[in-house]
Symmetry: C2
Subunit: 554 residues, 2 copies
């Protein structure tokens, strides 16, 4: 059986200009990165984004993921098989996890975006530019303090940390500025992973270079000794930071193994950030495609909720159909099976675990749009398990379901699903907002998410979070949407509570004001914004030979 | 008067494929980054690198630099004017200083490589890839310790720091791994600027992907509790790190304003590292051009010495001619003029300062190759000053000299110099090694550099350096060349000692074993491997408008 990277390296790709010609993108608007990747100079216009929008999400995943990207790509290729003009809008992989865990963000098997070995590594440098811009701002803040601190910034109240696109637990909590008078001011600091940077969220929400600069200027970087907020605009460096992102803001276009066009742009994690690819890329997909298929990170409780509540108002478009990806494996895990035995048939665990799927479907139905379940087939699934799950979807959930086998079969393995998605898009209903965006309080918004999406009962704020909420409301930002930072493994804030727990409380430990992104991050449970590497990192098995042949990259 | 970035943004560039067609580079070997930048898949062959090699270096610079890159580019354009097939081989700019000080590394005025706004920012992502690979290794080391430390690595003896391409003094000395058992092991650490990374030196010295991997495997990362060395190969991650650099190793090709081809690849600083662009790029220039012009960082005491003693044995080629760039301004500074009055005529200071030029010329003549002085004209130079300097070069130094005015005139301003360089290349003599590479000791090598290039008298090692030297010799690495880390402002290790001091001692505070690069770094004086930002960083004046028009980037 071929590895993902072998399939990618053997693929017969079309020159990217063949893809852009098909889409009618002007050659002058391209900035190619090699022969198979290009940035596109794209100016969005709401008047032209008339494609149908399909959002792919999932149940609570296992550590290995549920193949949501594989399903998204396979579904796109099925649209291509059906001669539909479809464009994907996906997230860029983060390099940190690539070096840590097996399993990429570029699909798998015969449903991949290619060249995966480039997309998974530095791609077109967007994350590097974000890292550089983020850390340049950090250096400029400390440099301001070093040179007299005219703004009176309190080094104990700086909220702008540093970032790296590396899974490096060693940098979570650090003390910097040691070494005496010429080497800065000693203070406590920390590093997040780049995908958690507010600049990543900003890049994904900005609709133009001008909007990007405006959002950057609004970033809250800390407080003065007398507790007044300090913004990037106070430092006068929004121009320089925007300059560093002048190419990163342009959506990247590649293709699938079956030559379906795919924009891949931006990639905040959905557990610690808002979890959706860039608005510019999604707008481009809606403009150039009759159908745009996008995905949101982790389960529907995370990425999809944020897509609905944070992204759609800025996108000026809501999904015409929502696809929830489920797997027998993950449902068995949610039903109590040991994670080491997920390859073994276990109908009991599956029967217990389907309540997890039910809650995801219920949650997505809150928004009033058609919901379809895609059962992503794994080789280890038994016929009985797949049959049981199909029947459950049809008879108990009473929604459309379809088994998909794109990992093995590419687009062909998703044609039936594609036909049902097309039918659903043609019967799409009115979008319902989860909460009143104008008039509800921060607590009301969190409560709506917890009760109506997670199925919990209450929200509890720590003393620190309560104080921060008071400050936020006093500063006049109580009307912003909330971006929940929560484990992807559970509806609760405890990664071990699988299935569909009832009557639980979500514990908010802290609130963070992200004024450039335009939302408030609520940190729940023990969420980490800088991951670590496992005891046997994937990096140990990677290699490249003298001819450039790669092994061990999934 | 137009700014550098205005000139660049208004330039009529040729499509990069026009340039590669002229050079006979196969289209299949290109990986374009937009329409005006490309990476070149280049496999070097010593048999084909038959171009003449010209090395451009300089006197001790002012803080603003002496326009060495401007001269190099102007000289290249003059060769083009003379219908010679010339290819430049330059270093990539580091982003850290771009945000700090005015003055880029892409030339200036009408002698620039373009698009300068891209080259000065992220270019093709090489430095980002180096940063990522460097920090991935750091994370893997700490992760190894976290997960049981099978190799018995002593956290107090790790010599692999972290890096960022940001001027960030706050990160020079840090404590990492705080936060308890799940967040690493607390220890002292520090960040260098990316150009100081051993990976940068390795990238610039590697001759193939295989050589790159082999060098990476040899990197010394620290010592065990019982003082045994630990290498990258012990961690088994040379494959993953090479994979991260698979594109960075490919030379980048751009053009000057006058369409002269220019490879720009790699860029270690010459004060804290070896200061020369990549061997692959220089080999490519020697292969595709009849003349290859390269430059080495800072004064001839730094970059050029390292080019001669570290690079040429690995390049299998020595320069046919050396061009020393001098300016009236810098010589006046070296003659005691106040740096604020360098625009004012001051023949007295100039007459005192020319001894700095003399020592650089003397040093370069040690290698037996023709030396030519290029007097880089500034608008503020008086006729009397320029005449005095020209006469001094001709009558006192008895070497060929020529005034060059490429900043204002491009290639036309350097045609006379170009003709003299061509003549010199045709009369090039045998290369003399500065020291016996096989048989001299580390101390003998340092002494040769200090006495014959710097004009000093002795080398003094600190107690720490002496201990390190003992360890290095005991480990069997006493035969490696030495890479001096020294201030660029003085022949001595004290930045304030200008001119041409006599009878001085160079103080070596520490030695660092760079086994992947294959040299020993000797830290002298108070050299910093992580710069800081000034009180008014250049970033504060940069901007980009909604049409992408850039201001404030030089």
């Amino acid at each position: 059986m071929k590895s993902d990277v072998e399939i990618s390296q053997e693929a017969k790709m079309a020159p990217i200009t063949t893809i852009t010609d098909q889409l009618g993108i002007n050659y002058d608007d391209l900035e190619q990165y090699g022969k198979y990747k290009t940035k596109v100079n794209f100016t969005p216009s709401d008047a032209h984004q008339d494609g149908k929008l399909i959002l792919v999400t999932s149940i609570n995943p296992t550590a290995a993921g549920e193949g949501k990207t594989t399903v998204t790509i396979g579904l796109g290729d099925a649209f291509t098989e059906l001669h539909k003009n479809v464009v994907l809008a996906l997230r860029e992989p983060s390099l940190g996890p690539v070096m840590g865990m097996k399993g990429g963000a570029t699909g798998g098997g015969y449903a991949q975006v290619v060249p995966m070995e480039d997309i998974n590594l530095h791609f077109t440098g967007d994350f590097d530019a974000l890292t550089e811009a983020h850390n340049t701002l950090a250096a400029l803040i400390d440099n301001h303090i070093q040179h007299g601190n005219q703004l009176n910034i309190d080094p104990r109240q700086i909220v702008w940390k540093r970032v790296l696109d590396v899974n490096d637990r060693e940098l979570r909590q650090v003390v910097i500025g040691l070494g005496g008078r010429t080497s800065g001011v000693p203070r406590q600091d920390g590093f997040d992973i780049t995908v958690a940077s507010e600049l990543m969220a900003i890049l994904c929400l900005a609709t133009s270079l001008q909007d990007l600069k405006h959002r950057i200027s609004k970033i809250l970087i800390g407080y003065t000794y007398d507790r007044k907020p300090v913004y990037v605009s106070d430092l006068h460096v929004e121009g320089a930071l925007t300059l560093l992102l002048k190419d990163a803001i342009k959506p990247n276009l590649v293709q699938t193994l079956e030559h379906t066009p795919a924009f891949i742009h931006g990639g905040p994690f959905a557990n610690i950030a808002h979890g959706c690819n860039s608005i510019l890329a999604t707008k481009a997909a809606l403009t150039y495609g009759d159908y745009a298929i996008t995905e949101a990170g982790f389960g529907s409780d995370l990425g999809a909720e944020k897509f609905m509540d944070i992204v759609t108002p800025r996108l000026n478009k809501t999904p015409d159909c929502v696809v929830v990806v489920a797997t027998v494996r993950a449902l068995k895990l949610n039903g109590g099976a040991d994670k080491k035995t997920l390859n073994v048939e276990n109908l009991d665990a599956l029967k217990k675990g389907v309540i997890n799927l039910k809650r995801h479907v219920d949650g997505m139905q809150q928004y009033g749009k058609p919901v379809i379940v895609a059962i992503n087939k794994f080789a280890s699934d038994s016929m009985e398990e797949l049959t049981y799950l199909s029947n459950y979807v049809q008879n108990d959930l009473k929604v459309t379901g379809e088994i998909i086998n794109s990992w093995a079969e590419g687009g062909k393995g998703a044609v039936d699903l594609a036909q049902k998605v097309i039918a659903a898009c043609n019967n799409s209903d009115k979008f319902h907002e989860l909460y009143d965006h104008e008039n509800s309080s921060v607590l009301e918004k969190m409560t709506a998410i917890v009760t109506r999406i997670y199925g919990g009962s209450t929200v509890e704020l720590s003393r620190k979070a309560k104080n921060e909420l008071k400050r936020i409301e006093k500063m006049g930002y109580g009307n912003l949407p909330v971006c929940m930072a929560k484990t992807q493994y559970s509806f609760t804030d405890n990664a071990k509570e699988l299935g569909a727990p009832e009557n639980f409380t979500i514990h908010v430990s802290d609130l963070q004001l992200k004024l450039g992104a335009g939302f408030i991050v609520a940190l729940t449970g023990k969420i980490l914004t800088m991951p670590g590497l496992p005891s046997h990192p994937a990096a140990l098995d990677m290699d490249i030979d003298e001819n450039g042949r790669i092994t061990g990259l999934f």
